[in-house]
Assembly symmetry: C2
Homo-oligomer: 250 residues x 2
């Protein structure tokens, strides 16, 4: 019996070392957007999160160099500050499927809702609905809860604005507290944007140090309703384009 | 005897999970510089690589929030495009030591040479000398060779220029091939700069896809000697400052 336990242990150790995920964070500087490429290092199946039109050539080149089979390009929500490259990418990669929340109002091959899984090889991302910045925002949680891709719901020491596109501060507060802050402390937080050169945080850090989301609900709502931010410059062209995968004629 | 093996296995699995390193990549957008913060997650001892004067407040705040004891701030070389924050940081963090290659010509508390180790908690970085971009360039290799911080010697699909500051294309070629390309294929490559939103690569990727360093020596020298780049805007103030840890009066 000890021998069996030994074998099981050895196997699980080997797996912990070999079941690698390739994860690459990429930045688009005009809109300060992070794009994430995740792949099963063995099967090469891959998922792309929040790709930007401006950097499609860089991203496709990397996918090709790494020999990946890109299965799904997913947007965490219908972005207002940049145009997604998912539509154009579908034309250049046969078989690629686009995905977005069913509450986004946008068209895509896969309409996501709570608990859905986006599979790549032996791994998957689980969808958690996080409305508040928009109605169709989702966070994507890696199988082992070691990483969460938070879109604009939770940013590093910040959060997405709630003053347009169905924004609602109360909803956002509840989404972050119920769907993201309940993940393990060490879970890495990868946001859709950062404007200060910060790339990664953890659930524990944000629970302790996020200047907005550590406040109580009333204070949070008050902060969010008094930001007085200018409208994103590209909202007029980005949102209509992103409602159809980044291309006006699908 | 099986029971002993079992215990050893269990212990090593536990260690693999608990001997965590906290590693944070940060970006300074004016000079497109990456700063890296590495810490032993248990002891909280930390090392900072290539910190920039402009982002000292962001970096110190993060160090404080994470409860880290910053032991060493190291520069991979005497930068020409930005001023290091090591000197000012030493004034604000008692006990912090600065480090740089002994061939850099710069003053610092610790003058590094080949094989030196920079220790933080149970972890350490090993110094590999990589002259070519400057005489005093070093790459810093994590204990288990899972990460290398390459400074300006090897960039993602590129490399540092060799047309000023003792630059020598032949030296750079040999440094990269002998000191970096000999690391394991999966070793993550973290450069001092990137101008296209790329954050990380691997030794395997660069050995296959680096457009300059996959060439032979003669072709490489020819490429490097015909780049015709303008001088860095800040070289006149950066280099004199960086020769004294970023402060003119040490
Ligand atoms: Fe957004
Ligand atoms: Fe440099």
């Amino acid at each position: 019996i000890l021998f069996v336990i030994l074998c099981v242990l050895l196997l699980s150790c080997t797996c912990a070392l070999s079941c690698f995920i390739t994860s690459v964070q990429l930045f688009e500087s005009e809109s300060s957007t992070y794009t994430y490429l995740l792949a099963d290092s063995e099967t090469k199946d891959a998922v792309l999160i929040d790709p930007v039109l401006e950097t499609i050539d860089r991203d496709l080149k990397l996918i090709q160099e790494l020999g990946l089979n890109l299965k799904v390009a997913v947007n965490t929500h219908c972005h207002a500050d940049h145009i997604t490259s998912t539509g154009l990418m579908k034309k250049r990669l046969v078989g690629l499927k686009s995905a977005i929340s069913k509450f986004s109002g946008a068209s895509a091959d896969i309409l996501l809702s709570e608990g859905d899984q986006i599979t790549f090889g032996k791994h998957y991302l689980t969808v958690r609905e996080t409305p508040g910045h928009t109605d169709g925002c989702v966070a994507l949680v890696l199988k082992d809860q070691s990483m969460v891709f938070t879109g604009d719901a939770l940013l590093i020491r910040g959060c997405g604005r709630t003053d347009f596109q169905q924004g609602c501060a109360e909803k956002l507060y509840n989404s972050v507290h119920q769907k993201i802050f309940t993940l393990p402390e060490q879970c890495l937080v990868y946001p859709a944007h950062d404007y200060l050169g910060q790339m990664v945080s953890t659930v524990g850090e944000e629970r302790k140090f996020n200047p907005r989301l550590t406040k109580n609900l009333d204070e949070f709502v008050n902060i969010m309703n008094n930001l007085n931010l200018p409208k994103p410059k590209k909202i007029g062209i980005s949102v209509p384009a992103n409602l159809v995968c980044g291309v006006h004629q699908v």
